[in-house]
């Protein structure tokens, strides 16, 4: 007998989740999360498939695979772009950079997001559409040829097309776009990202093009791993409502999870129309608000309207340091999952994840983590003891998360969702005495399942 199944996948920054559900009953055959560095998807998936087939004692046929992801956010902290070039109307070469947003800006410090594209990769083209849509400066075929030659010389591959007022009259835009495509360039058109061609859509397009390389790698890795099990056309990558008709919707997919949650959790858990979510996942702590808002990227606002997500100051991979008062304080710097928290067996620095997860690891590793933390705590001003310090800081972490999220949520109903949600139940009930609290664990409502549900809605 053959079982028809659908597969849901969710790729976080370092973990991925897999769910197999039988069609049409939706019975879950398998659901779990894996640490990508330890169990790479490419090698893990075939093994999982075999194991599930063996256990169900029948042939399994995958009908469709739906892939959700936040994986790309991991590279926000690094230099992006590579061979991305910008083609802009002559005279507007620095229009986007004049709208630069800095993360921190004081008289003596400046923190800005990493490069998206360099000045050397900005190419101007002698054309101009006026604000009423009239042609002010005609685009010539010579300008296009010269542009193409320059782009080839610089070995550009992906091109962001940011022409002033092109939304009022796309004729020049179309001519350049056609020439670029003909010459095998991958074109990212600002017109695909908003109603107007201006700094917001230019920035969105530039971020999307800068992420394209990593997205392609992720896509190839997934499709290669799945190719013997399912035809490539049945592997669907999720998009959110911020998707647009002509763009590749790489960025749009980053926001599909929250959208899917608000859509499906409402029915499943009989939630009211208005509720907020405190998301406590393995990789991210954040507050989700069920209203559309402009996505504030690390480089500034974009033209994407997505569900509002505010990352909390405390994150799973935050480590600890001694602060101005010589107390142990949660660091603002995230250690990331490479090598990752000590609990996962690779890291050497204890972080928030370890404090919350320590009880789940082997006693030897647990001791190692506690000792590492105590090495810092003992040198602080606080009156800590070796046996209590670790548990005390679990309370500190909980309190921090509750204080910050209480200042961000206003609805009467608050949902605690994610892997750490059950741990928070007692403390949260004590804190939010007057609110209606709902706790949903990751296991009962996995992100891979949300990917699958949303995927079916979008693609079937």
């Amino acid at each position: 007998m053959t079982k028809q199944v659908d597969v849901g996948l969710f790729f976080g920054e370092s973990f991925y989740e897999v769910i197999f559900t039988e069609r049409p009953s939706n019975v879950v055959l398998f659901s779990n999360a894996f640490f990508n560095l330890k169990d790479p998807f490419k090698t893990k998936f075939p093994k999982l498939f075999q194991a599930i087939s063996a256990e169900s004692q029948s042939e399994i046929k995958i009908n469709s695979v739906y892939v959700g992801y936040r994986y790309l956010e991991r590279i926000f902290k690094f230099k992006l772009g590579g061979s991305v070039a910008q083609v802009v109307t002559k005279g507007f070469e620095h229009w986007l950079s004049a709208h630069q947003f800095n993360k921190v800006e004081t008289l003596f410090s400046l923190k800005s997001a990493p490069d998206l594209s360099s000045t050397e990769m900005i190419f101007s083209v002698d054309e101009k559409i006026n604000p009423l849509g009239g042609v002010e400066k005609e685009l010539t075929t010579e300008s296009i040829s010269s542009l193409i030659a320059e782009l080839k010389k610089k070995e550009a591959k992906r091109i962001c097309l940011n022409l002033v007022n092109s939304h009022k009259n796309p004729s020049h835009n179309q001519m350049i776009k056609a020439a670029l495509i003909e010459n095998q360039f991958e074109v990212f058109d600002a017109l695909d990202f908003g109603a107007t061609s201006d700094s917001l859509s230019w920035r969105t397009s530039l971020i999307e093009s800068s992420l394209a390389g990593t997205f392609n790698e992720l896509k190839s890795e997934i499709t290669e791993a799945l190719q013997v099990f399912v035809p490539a056309e049945n592997v669907h990558f999720l998009i959110s409502n911020s998707s647009t008709k002509n763009s590749r919707n790489i960025l749009s997919g980053l926001f599909a999870l929250e959208e899917s949650f608000f859509h499906f959790a409402k029915t499943k858990y009989k939630l009211p129309d208005h509720y907020d979510v405190i998301h406590l996942g393995l990789e991210n702590f954040s507050v989700w608000i069920n209203s559309d808002d402009t996505w504030q990227s690390p480089w500034g606002p974009t033209s994407l309207k997505v569900k509002k997500r505010i990352d909390l100051k405390v994150q799973p991979t935050n480590s600890f340091h001694l602060n101005s008062f010589e107390d142990v304080e949660i660091s603002f710097n995230e250690e990331s999952f490479e090598p990752g928290p000590m609990c996962l067996g690779r890291g050497k620095i204890p972080c928030v994840y370890d404090i919350l997860n320590c009880g789940t690891v082997l006693p030897e590793l647990q001791k190692k983590i506690r000792d590492s933390f105590w090495a810092l705590a003992r040198s602080s001003n606080g009156k800590h003891t070796a046996d209590k310090a670790f548990d005390e800081f679990r309370t500190v972490i909980w309190n921090r998360i509750l204080i910050e999220s209480s200042l961000l949520t206003s609805s009467e109903t608050t949902v605690f969702y994610g892997d750490f949600s059950p741990q928070f139940e007692t403390k949260a009930k004590d804190f939010f005495k007057t609110k209606n609290l709902v706790f949903i664990s990751q296991k009962e409502f996995p992100k891979s399942w949300l990917s699958l549900l949303k995927g079916r809605l979008e693609f079937t």
């Binding site: 709208h99 400046l110 800005s112 107007t196 101005s324 606080g382």
Partner: protein
């Protein structure tokens, strides 16, 4: 584990982030924390509530507003809101939009309770709003701010019910003592002894500034000089700028409170703004004065440092769109490629004053057009081969007027000479040209007609020193 001052500090920082400018006081009216994105209002936020302490019941039933510079309100387009929640008191400062009609007065609001016994006094707000010198959207601005305060009150109370020890005065004392001890330790650890700066605006008009650090803290002495009439400002603004500047330099911006401010001795300029009768000067000094004081402080700092500062003074622009009388404020600063610095440089590695204010100050193409200006171009050119490192570039914005409009301009007031002789600063002087003619008065209103061409440059000139 007992409540640690670190956890209390985190609590103060978290709640203060709900406002752009806020001072938090305990039941004894001791200021525990000041958080502000502006450089010119930290001390004003501390002063206002303390001065008004005897005049209103600070029991959570009232919200008092005012915009009096002598009570600490830092700008003509800002209002202080003072209120209490449980055993804590708050002073916040919020901005509203005004037309920079340089010759018109803007309403001066004395301290009045707009919420009394937990009820909004709508008739009072309406009376204020109906005054001829009150900005049009003032009513909406006040109600919106009251809504924000109400939501904040609920959140704050939830936290206090859970963290009862946060109201403990012993904890507050420990916190203030620890903050002060840390700030003093940092001040003492930096080699910064005595620096003297002198700006000459015109013959006989000087601004002298002597800054020194010692075992007891920071001393800023204006040496009896008078600020130029165009940059006079209330004492609390001078205090705020000096306090904020050094808290930033010594890296205790998140520990600004009355204990750390007590480490400062500031001998202010004589004849500082008491209550300027000419409002055009008040508006001008509100915007341009802080930039100039910061420059003077940076110049002094540069003298004691091996680094070369690049000082970018800014012009402030406001478009007033014809009949609708809508306003759009904007600024231009030196631009750089998106994220091109790609690094965080803190403190000493590069000493640069405001290389690139966030893009919030520059509207988009469409918004400019809605207000009657077409953007013709925006370019940035480097002066030296090291532009990427030192941001030594000039940005030019070209605009064409498409409908009749009014442009209000506030240009920086640059001194004609500086001392000491070895001034290392490279000053960037912004310029504005209309149809090729330079407009370099300090403040003026321009009536623009269609096809007028504006060219705004962040500029870069080597400043003459004597």
């Amino acid at each position: 584990m007992d409540t640690r001052i670190t956890d209390f500090h985190y609590f103060l920082k978290s709640v203060s982030e709900k406002f752009s400018s806020v001072a938090i006081f305990n039941s004894d009216f001791k200021c525990l924390h000041v958080h502000s994105r502006s450089i010119n209002n930290s001390v004003g936020l501390m002063n206002g509530l303390k001065t008004l302490k005897p005049f209103f019941p600070w029991d959570g039933t009232h919200v008092v507003i005012h915009n009096d510079p002598l009570l600490g309100c830092s700008r003509i387009d800002r209002v202080q809101f003072l209120f209490s929640i449980d055993s804590f008191h708050f002073a916040i400062e919020e901005a509203f939009s005004i037309n920079w009609e340089l010759n018109h007065k803007i309403i001066k609001i004395p301290p009045i309770p707009i919420v009394e016994n937990k009820k909004v006094n709508n008739s009072l707000i309406e009376t204020l709003s109906s005054q001829p010198d009150c900005p049009k959207d003032f009513h909406g601005f006040v109600l919106k701010t009251l809504e924000t305060i109400e939501t904040f009150q609920q959140h704050f109370k939830t936290i206090l019910k859970f963290e009862k020890y946060f109201s403990n005065k012993e904890l507050h004392k420990d916190y203030l003592d620890s903050a002060s001890a840390f700030a003093l330790k940092t001040i003492k650890s930096k080699t910064y002894s005595v620096a003297l700066t002198e700006f000459e605006f015109e013959p006989g008009s000087f601004l002298k500034l002597k800054v020194s650090t010692s075992e007891t803290g920071v001393r800023v002495d204006f040496q009896g000089t008078t600020n130029h009439p165009l940059i006079q400002m209330a004492d609390s603004m001078t205090d705020s700028i000096c306090f904020h500047f050094f808290a930033d330099y010594f890296q205790f911006l998140d520990l600004m409170n009355e204990a750390t401010f007590s480490l400062f001795q500031i001998a202010k300029p004589t004849q500082s703004l008491a209550n300027s009768k000419i409002f055009s000067q008040k508006l001008y000094s509100d915007f341009v004065g802080p930039d100039l004081l910061v420059q003077a402080l940076i110049d002094g700092l540069a003298e004691r440092s091996p680094l070369k500062p690049y000082l970018f003074t800014r012009s402030y622009f406001q478009i007033v769109n014809g009949d609708q009388n809508k306003t759009l404020n904007f600024e231009l600063a030196n631009s750089k490629p998106i994220g091109s610095l790609g690094v965080s440089y803190m403190f000493e590695p590069l000493l640069i004053s405001k290389p690139t204010p966030s893009g919030t100050h520059l509207p988009g193409l469409e918004l400019f057009y809605q207000f009657g200006l077409e953007v013709l171009g925006c370019q940035s050119t480097g002066k030296s081969g090291r532009t990427k490192e030192n941001n030594d570039s000039t940005t030019t914005l070209q605009l064409r007027c498409v409908t009749p409009l009014r442009l209000n301009v506030l240009h920086p007031h640059l001194p004609s000479k500086t001392r000491p002789n070895k001034s290392k600063g490279t000053y960037s002087k912004p310029t504005l040209q209309i149809n090729g003619a330079l407009k370099d008065k300090h403040s003026f209103i321009l009536e623009l007609k269609p096809n007028d061409i504006l060219e705004i440059k962040t500029g870069s000139i080597e400043f003459p020193s004597t």
